[in-house]
Symmetry: C2
Subunit: 221 residues, 2 copies
């Protein structure tokens, strides 16, 4: 086991170096970079589509879409009129910082204001890999159950914002929003919380207003 | 990267040896072992609870519950009156065969007819690790989206049965059951398909009848 641990530490520390290099590059370019994470099926792509539609006339946006095998998400996003690059992880369960470095080279970063990274659908491994983003945002959906903060604590600890998606389905589930938020805040007192429905648009502007504000702050910094 | 690959191959081949050893032990004991996998929040624990209630008077059942940190699932399952052992992966995203070997030692396998393993909630990594089970069963829920077979193909390829859970929520989603099943069958022509709701019980008996039949076949083999 100790050999495995050493290798894992080496992979993580190489990733941390690459992430710091990405972070410096993004800061110099003045682009706000967001790493969007969730389990499979929580609604990352639908959320991205609506976010782009809301903000594309206010900010210059690009997307890096991570996926195991296909480029379905990239194709969906491209239809919304922003540049998209696809990372295929070939079965791996997370994106690493060196993949972001390569993917980001396909954009003119100086001209961008917001770069959205759609991570692989997985509540576990992506939380361990810093990509050099400014903010990690996670999506939990009401159909996944309110016990998730206790069961996947690292993801909740690492995030600046928690989006509770699919609130239109709340009446049909036994999801306890207060319990989920209380457990998440115990792990991370500073967590911002945005309940919304990416499908119906309910609650969406509070989130996109916050995201736009964060991007403008990065621009000035 | 080649050093990482070599280590990954070594981990997988050690796991494969442990899995074969588990498989022999389970076969000699005549116990049918099922590895239940899904993304986080697809309803594994609720499905297990209802499965136990349906079958515990017909089969001698035990459960191994895998979780990152807590033992909430084990506590929920224990209330249904069957023996449960917990594996805490301490943040790791899958269960490995040697952990099953240890956990199984807490039961009198010769007396069991059905051993249910609840894997960590993750559509990616658990599919790579054979645990020595007879059958892999995966749960997809209607709120996760019908594009999942194309995006997480290994999980669908490896399974004997696909449970489509939360069919009570179908009217409130844009889930296309025919598309999901067609894509899944392209990956795995022999896949058995069980649409059901673990919450309402709709469609449940077709699944538990099949599971009971599989367990009785293992007993006779």
């Amino acid at each position: 086991m100790s050999k495995e641990l050493t290798i894992e530490q080496a992979v993580l520390s190489e990733n941390a170096r690459n992430a710091e290099s990405n972070r410096g590059r993004f800061r110099r370019a003045g682009v706000h970079v967001v790493n969007l994470m969730s389990g499979a099926g929580a609604g990352k792509t639908t959320l991205l589509e609506r976010t782009i539609d809301k903000l594309k006339d206010r900010l210059r946006i690009a997307v890096i879409a991570g996926d195991l095998e296909t480029r379905r998400d990239a194709d969906r996003i491209e239809r919304h009129g922003v540049p998209v690059t696809q990372i295929n992880t070939k079965g791996a369960c997370h994106i690493e910082a060196h993949q972001i470095a390569d993917a980001a080279s396909e954009f003119d970063l100086e001209r961008l204001e917001l770069l959205l990274i759609e991570n692989v659908g997985n509540l576990v491994c992506p939380a361990e890999f810093d990509l050099g983003e400014a903010d990690k945002i996670m999506i939990l959906s009401t159909t996944e159950g309110h016990d998730k903060p206790g069961k996947y604590p690292l993801m909740f600890k690492e995030c600046r914002a928690l989006i509770l998606n699919k609130i239109d389905l709340l009446p049909y589930t036994n999801f306890d929003t207060n319990a989920a938020v209380a457990d998440a805040k115990l792990l991370n007192a500073k967590l911002e919380f945005f309940p919304l429905s990416a499908r119906t648009g309910e609650g969406f502007e509070v989130f996109t207003d916050w995201l736009e504000k964060r991007a403008r702050e990065a621009r000035r910094a």
